[in-house]
């Protein structure tokens, strides 16, 4: 397996596990956290911060998510999903920009 594929496969194994494997939070909620889209409040505000600027997360954000009836294990899983989801989108955006840049340089090698 080429080195690059090993890295991508390792990230895919992580994303598949956190989205689709067994968890305390439902797979549906985990998918919404992963996508940073469509979560109910107050989870939506916390997970948007995790995805978009985690340095802005406060104790109050975590407390609000817990007070809405979710367990610590559920919040742990949803935060992991939001972090992995956003990072996977960054990785894919970088690879897409690279594919576009190299396809124009060498059209015969477009893939």
């Amino acid at each position: 397996m080429p080195d690059d594929d090993r890295k991508r496969a390792a990230l895919r194994a992580l994303t598949d596990r956190v989205r689709n494997g067994k968890g305390e939070a439902s797979a549906e909620l985990r998918a919404l956290a992963f996508d940073n889209n469509g979560l109910p409040p107050p989870l939506d505000a916390l997970m948007a911060k995790v995805a978009e600027d985690a340095s802005q997360v406060t104790d109050t954000d975590l407390a609000a998510a817990l007070a809405s009836g979710h367990t610590e294990d559920q919040i742990f899983e949803l935060v992991v999903c939001a972090a992995v989801g956003e990072s996977t989108r960054l990785y894919d955006a970088g690879l897409a920009a690279l594919a576009e840049a190299t396809a124009e340089e060498n059209p015969a090698d477009a893939s």
Partner: protein, 193 residues
């Protein structure tokens, strides 16, 4: 850390391991290491594998280059724990503190190869803007970075965007400078597995 389960929710064997590490290293187990022991089947096992592949797997980038990328991405994210941890690790890997400080302070004037300088700039744009254009990527290619090097750098960037988010969300505790140095020595010896 901000969730009690991340501070206390470990099986007895894991707590014993943490105590042993603390006793023999003289430093507490860093939160970045503790979190991968929390329900490892959910996150830690696969996260460690991906991070190790990105940081220590085959690559035209040196370990020092990749540790510098980790520090640089963390700087853009303003994640204090990871900036300190990977500044220390890059510095030990390069045996050159000035170079790491310069790269994190002013990319334009730092003593770096052009492919590395433009790769760091691209990772910074991607992390800050959360998007990237083909034009951004053409500049990295024009500076001499190969497509394989760019793909490897993107994997490092993904790994540390994950870790930075967890560090900030769960508020990983900062360590003493000595403990960050000890952690850096460990990461260079053993990697992320």
């Amino acid at each position: 850390m901000r969730l009690d389960v991340l501070n206390h929710g470990y099986p007895r064997r894991t707590k014993l391991l943490f105590a042993l590490i603390r006793r023999f290293s003289g430093h507490p187990v860093p939160d970045a290491a503790r979190i991968v022991f929390y329900r490892p089947d959910f996150y830690g096992d696969r996260a460690k594998h991906f991070t190790h592949e990105a940081m220590r797997g085959p690559s035209a980038w040196s370990v020092g280059d990749r540790e510098l990328m980790a520090a640089y991405v963390s700087k853009v994210n303003r994640t204090a724990f990871c900036i300190a941890a990977h500044t220390a690790t890059a510095t030990q890997a390069y045996q050159d503190a000035d170079r790491v400080t310069a790269a994190l302070t002013d990319l334009d004037t730092a003593d770096l190869t052009e492919p590395l300088r433009e790769t760091l700039r691209m990772l910074g744009t991607l992390t800050r803007e959360r998007t990237l254009t083909a034009d951004d990527m053409r500049k990295v290619l024009a500076a001499g970075a190969t497509p394989d090097q760019i793909r490897d750098a993107l994997a490092v960037c993904a790994a540390f965007n994950i870790t930075d988010r967890l560090a900030d969300t769960f508020a990983f505790a900062l360590l003493t400078p000595e403990a960050f140095q000890a952690g850096a020595t460990y990461l260079l010896k053993r990697g992320y597995r």
